[in-house]
């Protein structure tokens, strides 16, 4: 009978908390969106599944060896850990109370040395870091995974349209207004007392408006790791929603006549220009904004490999095998942040709301900038391509093309929209660099 009780007390059903149950449902919801609705499936399948894994009671896949030991170890081990942490446990209190005391000690009171010693105790008795915890510390804490993905994106990006018409860089710059307006919005919400965001958290939320998954993850891992789960989910969910969010805004801000504007054919770009461009960008980053060097440096490296044409094997790995491996690890690691304690909060709703506002403002700013440029320049610019300035490569460019075709079936804007689209990637990386410099 005693054995039966032990088995029952070790079962998931016995230990399942309400929050975990809700988070498992959230994970299933993400999987539904990814599989059935095709919302960025490459990222949302691993994230959703990681979220489910992270919330399996007692399995401790997303926590460190130390936390794991505090949660489940027997009283003798708890005593031993308490002594390494320089505390004694009240012999009269229950084991549950001991566990709470230890959690408090680990999170607040202990010095790094004591923590290391307590960790050693935990690993000695056979507890180890959870798989997702290892992925997280390997891929995201170090910032490696978003950077490698950025390299792959660089290896997939063709800067030809941008080089043929460099002024489209301004559209990519204007669309970054979404990021900063959202930062201000988040700060405003805290000032009104609706939410409680610090300036760092506000900056990390704003970067969702850059519509760039790796950049968002990179920035929030540096400025606000506690919000990373919600920010990554919001960023990828809204990137998938670009074809729904953007067209109404684009139609609202342009007249039919403007949407019909045909653009002049792009000039051919020589191979040498394409090789020199990433190097030029790198030099500028080095001169003006070293804080953006990790992101843009990897981006330029990937692009140089692509354009130089002598390392095809490396390019192929960077844009296929490597980026796929890293995507799996990154997705699961982000999923580990979907733990009930941190995700089920009012802040998450705030982040979701602010994220969509960021997208909307970015799109409008790009379109309005394109209209402004149309007033001052001789070469006609179709305002629709301004909307592609929020990165989301290549989805935003396809949306611009589609809306353009609706007004004029002979007007193919895709190549023209790729210019602001890749400019948006550069723009949001620059914006990320500024934020890290200013707040980091």
């Amino acid at each position: 009978m005693e054995k039966l009780i032990t088995l029952w007390e070790g079962s998931g059903l016995y230990n399942l908390e309400l929050g975990q149950a809700v988070m498992i449902l959230v994970g299933l919801g993400l999987l539904y969106l990814a599989i059935y609705k095709k919302f960025e499936p490459l990222l949302l399948v691993p994230i959703g599944f990681g979220g489910i894994l992270a919330n399996i009671p007692e399995a401790g896949l997303a926590i460190s060896a130390l936390d794991q030991a505090i949660h489940v170890a027997n009283p003798a081990v708890l005593q031993q850990m308490a002594s390494t942490l320089g505390a004694t446990l009240d012999p009269l209190a229950s084991v549950e109370a001991w566990r709470e005391t230890l959690v408090y000690l680990v999170n607040d009171g202990a010095s790094p040395d004591q923590l290391r010693a307590a960790r050693d105790v935990a690993t000695n008795v056979g507890y180890s870091d959870g798989l997702l915890y290892v992925f997280y510390s390997l891929a995201i804490t170090t910032g490696i995974a978003p950077l490698i993905i950025f390299m792959g994106v660089g290896a997939m990006t063709d800067f030809g349209p941008l080089l043929a018409n460099p002024r489209t860089l301004f559209l990519g710059a204007a669309a970054q207004f979404g990021i900063f307006a959202t930062v201000f919005g988040a700060v405003g919400m805290s000032a009104m007392g609706w939410m409680d965001f610090s300036i760092n958290q506000a900056a990390a939320i704003g970067i969702i408006g850059g519509a760039d998954g790796p950049t968002s993850i990179y920035v929030s891992s540096m400025l606000a790791p506690e919000l990373l789960g919600a920010i990554a989910v919001a960023a990828y969910a809204y990137m998938a929603l670009v074809p729904l969010i953007q067209p109404p805004i684009m139609r609202l801000l342009t007249t039919k006549k403007e949407r019909e504007i045909a653009m002049t054919q792009l000039r051919p770009v020589s191979k040498l220009e394409k090789i020199v461009f990433p190097l030029l960008l790198l030099v500028l980053v080095a001169l003006f904004l070293p804080d953006a060097a990790p992101l843009l440096g990897m981006f330029c490296f990937g692009n140089l490999m692509r354009e130089c044409g002598v390392v095809e094997r490396l390019t192929d790995t960077a844009q296929n095998a490597l980026i796929n491996i890293v995507t799996i690890v990154l997705g699961l690691a982000v999923g580990s942040k979907l733990m009930a304690e941190s995700f089920l909060a009012l802040e998450t709703l705030g982040i979701m709301g602010l994220g969509i506002v960021a997208f909307g403002i970015g799109t409008s700013a790009g379109v309005l900038m394109a209209k402004l440029m149309n007033l001052v320049s001789r070469m006609p610019i179709n305002p629709l391509i301004g909307a592609a300035g929020v990165s989301a490569v290549p989805m935003a460019a396809r949306v611009a093309n589609k809306v353009g075709l609706e007004s004029n079936p002979h007007n193919f804007l895709l190549m023209h929209a790729m210019g602001p689209n890749v400019a948006g990637v550069i723009g949001s990386a620059v914006a990320a660099g500024v934020m890290i410099k200013y707040l980091g």
Partner: protein, 85 residues
């Protein structure tokens, strides 16, 4: 008050960030344009040169073109006559 301080900081970040993004990308536009001009001057459009080469046809390629043209028109002729039947 702390709230207004937070708001000020947000506003400062917005101005500074947007300003910097624009300045950086403006510098990038200028340098890209210069780079393209320089490359265009020192290495006059390698993409265009083969196109120019084609317009000055050598007699050999012209002969080949004529031959291809003859073969194609014969094929088209035969196809049409077979359809008519």
């Amino acid at each position: 008050m702390q709230d207004t301080e937070l708001l000020h900081e947000g506003l400062a970040l917005m101005g500074l960030g947007m300003g910097f993004v624009f300045v950086f990308l403006t510098v990038l536009v200028i340098s890209v344009t210069l780079m393209s001009k320089l490359i265009g001057r020192f290495q006059p459009a390698p993409v265009a040169s083969p196109a120019r080469g084609k317009s000055v046809k050598s007699s050999a390629s012209k002969e080949a073109d004529d031959e291809v043209l003859a073969v194609i028109s014969a094929a088209v002729h035969r196809y049409r006559s077979s359809r008519r039947r």
